[in-house]
């Protein structure tokens, strides 16, 4: 059971935060996410200019955008997709009414992460990013998201959720 990466997209379809996690076991991460598996890419989105990373977030956004639309067309205006799974990874999705989109990539055997994503939003993002006075209200280029409190909180939280089971 391990988490590969985590992304936040805002209502302007921009990726305002992304983070990769060191794999806690040797399961191969999906293509693109966390190259060697041991790298801790906690760099603010604004500094990450590598085109590979950009391609990856674009790809992820395109995927959730289409899936989201499909879910609504088939299941009604209020329907949301929760996750999808491939042989290599599982993508978990949660969207707030403000169209903040939280995405997490994990190994395929991980269960429902909806409450986890909700908690990241309600207890970490809202408390540490939204209420931070010197951060802008909207995070163009990821500005103001990756502050110390949010980073630290996210790391601790993920560690608790994905603690290797004995």
């Amino acid at each position: 059971m391990s988490v590969f990466s985590f992304y936040i997209f805002d209502r302007h379809t921009e990726c305002i935060y992304s983070k990769r996690f060191a794999a806690s076991n040797n399961a191969p991460p999906p293509r693109g996410a966390a190259g060697g598996g041991i790298q801790n890419g906690d760099v603010p989105a604004s500094l990450r200019k590598a085109s590979k990373d950009l391609d990856e977030t674009k790809l992820i956004f395109g995927t959730i955008f289409s899936l989201r639309r499909m879910a609504r067309q088939l299941g009604g205006a209020d329907d949301q997709f929760l996750s999808y799974r491939t042989g290599e990874y599982k993508l978990h999705y949660f969207e707030t009414p403000t169209q903040l989109k939280l995405v997490m990539l994990t190994s395929p055997n991980v269960g429902n992460m909806r409450t986890v994503l909700h908690q990241i939003w309600a207890t970490l993002f809202v408390e540490y990013v939204v209420k931070s006075p010197l951060a802008p209200a909207e995070h163009t280029g990821g500005k103001g998201v990756a502050n110390e409190l949010f980073e630290g909180g996210l790391e601790r939280f993920m560690e608790a959720v994905f603690r290797p089971q004995q």
Binding site: H12, T13, K58, G62, D78, T96, T98, L100, F125, V130
Partner: protein
Amino acid sequence: MASSSKAARLGEEVWKSRVDKINAEVLTLTYGTIVAQLCRDLTLPATANKTDYAAVNAELDRMGYNIGLRLIEDFLAKSNTGTCSSFRETAEVISKVGFKMFLNVVPQVTNWQGVEGKPQAFGLVFEENPLAEFVEYPDDGRAQDELWYSNILCGVIRGALEMVQMQIEAHFVTDVLRGNDTTEMRVTLVRYIEDEMPPDDE
């Protein structure tokens, strides 16, 4: 979905159990320093101390807008209200959950105009206004005609609703500070905002 009384119950519940409290006077006085500062900083061209009240109104609205963009996330995370099914429901939730949760007052929703699918507007009448508790306008013969003291609230609602895909227009029409018998804000729905598309998808 949520009827008026349901919204009222939710507002009470959130206020009682999920909100940290502070003496309302601290809020009143802090807001007062903000308005006073703006009245000093924003002066009419070529004058040293004649306040440009129109500019103060606009700046308060802008400040409120920036608060609204943030406050809505806090509001949704704490209240767990889902998407509103109609603008009427939005009005009820703003009054009975939003204002209750943040200011411990419940403005009355009144004077409905329009129906679903047509231009819709409603009024919020404030029996109590914690922002204006100690306020007396400067007796300069202009403030009472030009300043909307609580204009920040218009911006807050505008910013908050924009984040949940509603473009609205809000302004005060009366204020007891101006000598009116009521304090009323009008909120007009301009349109529902469409989802933004990723730039590459045409």
